[in-house]
């Protein structure tokens, strides 16, 4: 999966229509709630068969940090 495809996937996870940019702070994204965290875990499990640790997600501050959690599975 490409980095850009992952961001599109994230938009769907958040059920968000507006664009997402890598430098956006998670605390400023209204849709980033506890259910979104679960959806993000599900997304990574579905696409990469990998379980992302809850604590690691808690430590993410930006969209870019989230992408970094999956970077081993991304093409670019």
């Amino acid at each position: 999966m490409k980095r850009s495809e992952f961001i599109d996937g994230l938009k769907e996870v958040l059920q968000r229509e507006e664009n997402l940019s890598e430098d956006m702070a998670l605390k400023d994204i209204g849709e980033w709630d506890s259910l979104a965290v679960m959806s993000f875990i599900a997304f990574c499990d579905e696409h990469f068969s990998t379980q992302i640790n809850g604590e690691n997600i808690q430590q993410c501050k930006t969209v870019s940090d989230l992408i970094d959690l999956a970077k081993d599975h991304l093409e670019d």
């Binding site: 506890s34 679960m38 959806s39 875990i41 599900a42 579905e46 992302i52 640790n53 809850g54 808690q58």
Partner: protein
Amino acid sequence: MYRKRAVIKAIATYLPESVLTNEHLSEEFGDWDAQKIYDKTGIATRHIAKQDECASDLAVAAAKRLFDKQICSPIEIDFLLFCTESPDYLIPPSSPIIHEQLELQGNCGTLDYNHGCSGFVYGLALSKSLIESGLSENILLLTGETYSKHINPKDKSARTIFGDGAAATLISSELLEQERICSFLFGTDGSGAGQLIVPAGGMRQRSTAETGLEKEFADGNRRSEQNLYMNGPDIFNFTLKVVPKAVKSVLDKSDMEIGDVDYFIFHQANKFILEHLRKKIGIPKDKFYLSIEDCGNTVSSTIPIAMEDALRQNKIKSGDKLMLVGFGVGLTWAACLVNL
């Protein structure tokens, strides 16, 4: 070979009268409207026990409904099992108190066991063992829970998900050739004990003024150490790790493929987790029970409540092969096959 086999004969359930609706939650917490709560969680109502109503009272009510079906009378019960994490007292156990209220006969054994989400399947294993070893003929397996009493009123997430309720299941001995409850798989991961916990109030940390102090957390929920805490993401990861393997294990033990199972009933934890697991494991939608609309997550009662509902809706019938999978608090899990 004809042997005494444990057979599930009847199930009855009881939900307390008082109801917590999404409208009420929305009024109290303000950020999600009632429809959004329903869309996100699949839950419309949860039933909440009254102040003076305990898990044992709910279990007694479920048992009385079971006896009303007249499949078995109270004096025929020779063993009572009660699964709860909300006993009336630390001492004595609650099952003798329930025994008294149901007017069961004196030479009936009673046993409380402290278990949650996987509790019903563990209860089936205990029941099968008692019956097939010749120690018991008619077992009343009760599950009853009142998580509402552990949850802080200002913990929106927990109040949204959990509901109170009880179930009574009659498991009896029959002389049959084949096993009717079989292919058990058990699992434990104590490293996850802290992921679904009421930290204070037991022996490890007694209740004090300090443990009663409420704190606010990043997710906006408030709770004290005497309240229920649940780490949703870590529990979700746990289910992803163990549930698919548990299903495979039961299939292997039964020499079956997924397609040979008529219906799957998992612990009804939450709609999102269940849907994801269903897709991950490859279970068709019409063979998978998913409904927490009326009662939310009732912990150890979700599986028997689901079974009663599935029977009522003719989704399952006599002769069907049912796989039951419980998973959660402990962390523990258990699965088995039931030939209805």
